[in-house]
Structures are given as structure tokens and as C-alpha cells.
């Protein structure tokens, strides 16, 4: 089963829509609650990243019998140095975003920590695609 969600850049009040829906589905699939928690944290961080940095994006979630695949693709500034972005505490978030309690530089590290596989592809000035896979 595949479900897609639009993510609107800059709109923090709507961040979390995809992750709460995915959580609902995973609960119905009777996935272990700790596994659900980790998947949902990773997807929520991904949503917040798009909202905080990009102009628009889409999360496409594929549920298989043995795994979940999340692809978050955005149109945005891209990440010039992915290795640095992966470091805990490194952030390029604007002061306005930090003001709202986001932008602590934990987004990508948190996502990596909570999924089995994380793949980042980015082109500066075009956008970023993050792929996350977790086995049930």
C-alpha cells in the first residue's frame, strides 16, 4: 500500500500530518510500539525539515508486509555538505525557525538513529530526497 502526503514549506502548524496518519496505519498493522515510535519520530523530523528549509515537498510512504519505505522529496535549497548536515548540532535553520523551537541541528542525526537505512540525495538549488527504510 502506498500513501502520499503533500508538505507545505514554512507551515509549522501542519507539520506532523503525515506522521500521525502513518502512525494510525502502523497501529492497525499491530507493529511493535517501539518500532512505530522510531518510524514516526524519523518521519516527523523529515516533515519538519521540509517545512523549515524547503519550499514544498512530498512524503511517499510504502507499506510492505516486512518493511516501510519513506521517501521525502522536496523542492528547496538543497544541502551543500551532507556530511556536515549529518553532524549532531549543525544547523542552517534561520533565526525565525529557531525562535519556534526548531533548528537544533538534530533532525538528520535523529532520522538516521531511528531507521534501519537512510539515504540522502541533494542538488543545491534544486532540492533534496531522503529515503528511509525500516524493517518490521
Amino acid at each position: 500500500m502506498q500513501v502520499s502526503y503533500d508538505i507545505e514549506g514554512g507551515n509549522f502548524t501542519r507539520a506532523g500530518y503525515a506522521s500521525s496518519d502513518v502512525k494510525r496505519v502502523l497501529k492497525q498493522l499491530s507493529i511493535d510500539s517501539q518500532v512505530i515510535k522510531r518510524i514516526v519520530i524519523a518521519l516527523y523530523e523529515g516533515e519538519v525539515n521540509v517545512v523549515a528549509h524547503a519550499w514544498s515537498g512530498k512524503a511517499t510512504v510504502t507499506f510492505d508486509t516486512d518493511k516501510i519505505t519513506i521517501v521525502i522529496a522536496d523542492r528547496g535549497p538543497g544541502i551543500p555538505d551532507i556530511d556536515r548536515a549529518m553532524q549532531a548540532g549543525y544547523s542552517t535553520a534561520s533565526p525565525a525557525v529557531r525562535e519556534m523551537g526548531f533548528g537544533a541541528g538534530m533532525g538528520l542525526p535523529n532520522m538516521k538513529k531511528n531507521v534501519d537505512e537512510l539515504l540522502i540525495e541533494s542538488t543545491v538549488g534544486v532540492g533534496t530526497t531522503v529515503t528511509m527504510i525500516t524493517k518490521f
Binding site: 500500500m1 506532523g16 506522521s19 500521525s20 502512525k23 496505519v25 497501529k27 492497525q28 498493522l29 499491530s30 510500539s33 515510535k37 514516526v40 519520530i41 516527523y44 507499506f63 510492505d64 508486509t65 516486512d66 518490521f136
Partner: protein, 459 residues
């Protein structure tokens, strides 16, 4: 816990007109209309009584024990919550109300919140020992059930401490036995402001033998009010045994914030079941829920003063309760004085068994099967109109799609689908009517000038 929930909410089929108000209001989506009557899915209902509040036909009721059963016992104890006194105007003294309770047959009045201070102390210890945040109050039984079915991984966070009513009943029963009263002759009757408390008492094996019956607060209010009105001219002749006075904090235990005020750290008090659901869903997602030390969650707006069986307006009752409480002492009688062995042994019996998760699952089967069913629901949703009118007997289009996939409803239950099927020549007019009758019953299709809002209503 595998035997499922006990339910105190019942539907009177004679009165139910199948109007869908309850179906649309239920916060857990547990109601359907079938054959013209409301039907409650027993595993999904948390006894919050939102359905009863929304019912325009008084078709949903809360069962209670026969009042005359109190006379099966020599020692007839009324377990009365502080908010019962707040149902009466401030000019009615607690003595007056207690003596009226005695004149209708009770021999002892025990305030439910007698042990609130002791319960709070035990909760404080458990919060300090808790391995993960937040600790959640076990006080509101509708909320405990809501967590069990809808947020099952939070059941471990519910503090395993008895509610004051159970602790107070245990304590007072021991005191009576210490005084030489035969245990068989003690009848304890709990006066409840809500359906969930009844379900808690009746569904709890520990309450077997401890509490002999449950009386609805609105029923008892009418009885007491009548006595007070007719006796007010003459001084009371009954020998009211006044209960031990509560402290201000104990009086206010059932108010919103009444528990949270006892604990240090980051505490939040949230009332009304939709507010509770919204709060948990949001803060679980953002992780903020873990930054809270203690959560007091109550199913009713204005907590127990908003209970479905509490007759007074909830805002007025809650203000009266605060005012009455201010007249009480700051000091808790029970927490500061020792009243014998009974009090000492309370500490050993105040813990309650853990809460078990009982997840509400829409589908059954393994992952592959559930995914297949979810895909079917998504396919069906392409056709349903998405206006959530409830005319199919389910709470909305999504719920109808799920019911169809579970084999409990048909696509043709949707009146929009019926029209399309008729237009396409796939359904005859007569069959469409028959389908409507299956959901709504035969009478629904007939003219009836006596129904609510019609010209002979009430005649």
C-alpha cells in the same frame, strides 16, 4: 482483563429513534445504527457517556442498582463524593444534606475523598519512582479505558494506585469491622456522577464484596431534595452521623486540577475527552508528552461536576464546590491523625493492578491481510461522497468503508451510492427502499406526526 469491558450505558430500543446523534458524537467511533436502533460496539466503548449527552430521545441510560437493596443490610453506608453537596445551593448545609441521606435510610455517610490525601501521597511516591514520563492519573475510568483501546502503549504510564472511593470503602469497612460490625451486615453504596465509575465498580473483581451497589447521583439528588424541601419547616429527627470533615484539597480532588495541584514538576490537567485525545495525539508526535511529569486527564468537561449523572450545571456546581471547600480546614484529618489499625493497613492495600493494553483494531488478520483490507478501504473511499452525513448508519464515510470491508455493511447503504446505482439501472427503487429499511427500520419511512419537532409532538 480478557473478558472485555463491563458497560453501564444501555440503549432503550423502545425510545431510540435511530437519529445518529450518538453515532456522530462518540469519540471512539463505537456506535452504529442497525435496524433503526443505535448499537454500541462493546470493545470500543469507554463509557464516557458522550452518546447519552447527545441523545435527544433519552434512549440512552445508565443502569443502577435498586435503591431498596440498601435495606438488605443493617449497616447502610453511603459513599458520597464531595461534589454531591455542590449540587445543592450554598444555603443547604452539609449537615442538612447528610441528615436527609440518613432519613432515607443510610446509617453512615462516608466522603469518597476521605482517603484522597493518602492516595495523593502514594501517587507522589510512584511518580518519583516512575521509569518514564509522564505519569498518568488513574482517577477517571473512562480515560483509563480510552488509553487502553486507543493509546495502548501509554497504559504502563497509568499509576497503579486505587481511586479514593475504593480506598475509602476499604478503610471504612475495616473500621466498622474493628468496631465489631458483622462484615455481612455492611452494605456500601457508591453515589456516582458518571457511567464510567459504575463500569469501574462492576467490572473490578476487587470491588466484589467491598461495594454492594452503585446509585446514580441524579436519582439520589431528587430523593434528598424532596426530603429537604418537606422537612425544612421542622427540625430533623433523624440522627445524622456527620462524616469526618475533609480538607480543602481533599474536597477539590474531583475538580479539574484537583490532583495536579498536589504534585511538583511539570503537571498538566486536561478535561473533556476530545481535548484529551487531541493533546495526546499531538504531543506524542512531537515528543513533548515526555517532558510532562504528571498528567491529570478527565473525560468530562469540568471533570466530575460535568458527569452525565450530576444534575446541577457543571460551571455552577464546580464554583460551589470550590466555595464549600474554602470553608474546610487546610489540614487533612486522615493524613495527620491515626485512627487505628484500619488506617495503618490502608497503605498496604492502596496499590491497584496494572492496566492492560486492549488496542482497538479495525481489521483482523496478519499484516498482509490487513494491508489488503486497508487497500480495499482506500478503493471504496474513491466512490463515497466524503460528506460524513451518517445516513448509512456509520459515523462517516471512512467508517462506512471500514465496515464494508469487515463485512458489516454494504456500499448500497450509502444514499449517494444508491442514487447512482438506481441511475445506472443496477438497483430498483423497491430494493433501495428495502436497504433503507434495513438500516433505519420500517417506521422511519412512515409519516409520524408525533415525533420530535412534528406537529403533534408530546400529544
Amino acid at each position: 482483563m480478557s473478558k472485555g469491558f463491563y458497560h453501564a450505558l444501555k440503549i432503550n430500543p423502545e425510545r431510540c429513534t435511530g437519529c445518529t446523534h450518538c453515532v456522530m458524537e462518540c469519540p471512539t467511533g463505537a456506535l452504529r445504527i442497525r435496524n433503526g436502533k443505535a448499537f454500541i460496539h462493546p470493545n470500543w466503548c469507554v463509557d464516557c457517556a458522550e452518546c447519552m449527552r447527545s441523545c435527544p430521545s433519552e434512549a440512552i441510560y445508565v443502569e443502577q442498582d435498586d435503591f431498596n437493596r440498601i435495606f438488605d443490610y443493617q449497616c447502610r453506608v453511603a459513599l458520597v463524593p464531595a461534589l454531591f453537596f455542590a449540587q445543592f445551593s450554598k444555603t443547604r448545609s452539609e449537615e442538612e444534606i447528610c441528615s436527609a441521606l440518613c432519613s432515607i435510610g443510610f446509617t453512615h455517610i462516608v466522603p469518597v475523598e476521605l482517603t484522597a490525601g493518602v492516595v495523593a501521597e502514594r501517587m507522589r511516591q510512584k511518580i518519583a519512582q516512575a521509569e518514564r514520563n509522564p505519569s498518568i492519573s488513574p482517577f477517571c475510568p473512562a480515560i483509563a479505558r480510552l488509553l487502553q483501546i486507543r493509546f495502548p502503549d501509554l497504559t504502563d504510564n497509568i499509576l497503579n494506585v486505587k481511586s479514593p472511593f475504593e480506598a475509602s470503602a476499604t478503610l471504612f469497612r475495616r473500621e466498622l469491622i474493628e468496631q465489631g460490625v458483622d462484615s455481612e451486615q455492611i452494605g456500601m453504596f457508591y453515589v456516582t456522577p458518571c457511567a464510567a465509575k459504575i463500569a469501574e465498580v462492576k467490572g473490578n473483581d476487587n470491588c466484589n464484596g467491598l461495594i454492594q451497589g452503585v446509585l446514580n447521583m441524579d436519582f439520589l439528588y431528587n430523593k434528598v431534595y424532596h426530603i429537604i424541601q418537606s422537612h425544612s419547616a421542622e427540625p430533623s429527627s433523624s440522627t445524622a452521623q456527620m462524616p469526618a470533615p475533609l480538607s480543602t484539597d481533599e474536597m477539590c480532588w474531583s475538580q479539574t486540577g484537583g490532583e495536579a495541584r498536589h504534585f511538583a514538576g511539570r503537571t498538566l490537567a486536561i478535561d473533556e475527552i476530545h481535548n484529551v485525545i487531541e493533546f495526546i495525539e499531538r504531543t506524542e508526535l512531537t515528543g513533548e508528552i515526555q517532558t510532562v511529569d504528571f498528567l491529570e486527564l478527565r473525560a468530562c468537561d469540568r471533570s466530575c461536576c460535568g458527569g452525565v449523572l450530576a444534575p446541577a450545571n457543571r460551571f455552577i456546581a464546580s464554583e460551589r464546590l470550590d466555595k464549600r471547600a474554602q470553608r474546610h480546614s487546610e489540614q487533612s484529618m486522615l493524613a495527620t491523625t491515626t485512627t487505628g489499625q484500619a488506617r495503618d493497613s490502608l497503605d498496604n492495600t492502596i496499590d491497584s493492578p496494572p492496566y492492560m493494553p486492549m488496542a482497538k483494531l479495525t481489521y483482523t488478520g496478519g499484516i498482509e491481510e490487513v494491508l489488503r483490507q486497508m487497500n480495499s478501504v482506500r478503493n471504496i473511499m474513491c466512490f463515497l461522497p466524503g460528506i460524513d452525513c451518517g445516513a448509512c448508519g456509520s459515523p462517516g464515510c471512512q467508517a462506512l468503508a471500514e465496515d464494508i470491508v469487515r463485512g458489516e455493511a454494504h456500499l448500497s447503504n450509502c444514499i449517494f451510492m444508491q442514487r447512482q446505482m438506481e441511475a445506472a439501472g443496477k438497483l430498483s427503487n423497491q430494493s433501495a427502499l428495502l436497504i433503507m429499511e434495513r438500516v433505519w427500520g420500517k417506521e422511519r419511512m412512515e409519516k409520524n406526526c408525533f415525533k420530535k419537532g412534528a406537529k403533534y409532538e408530546g400529544k
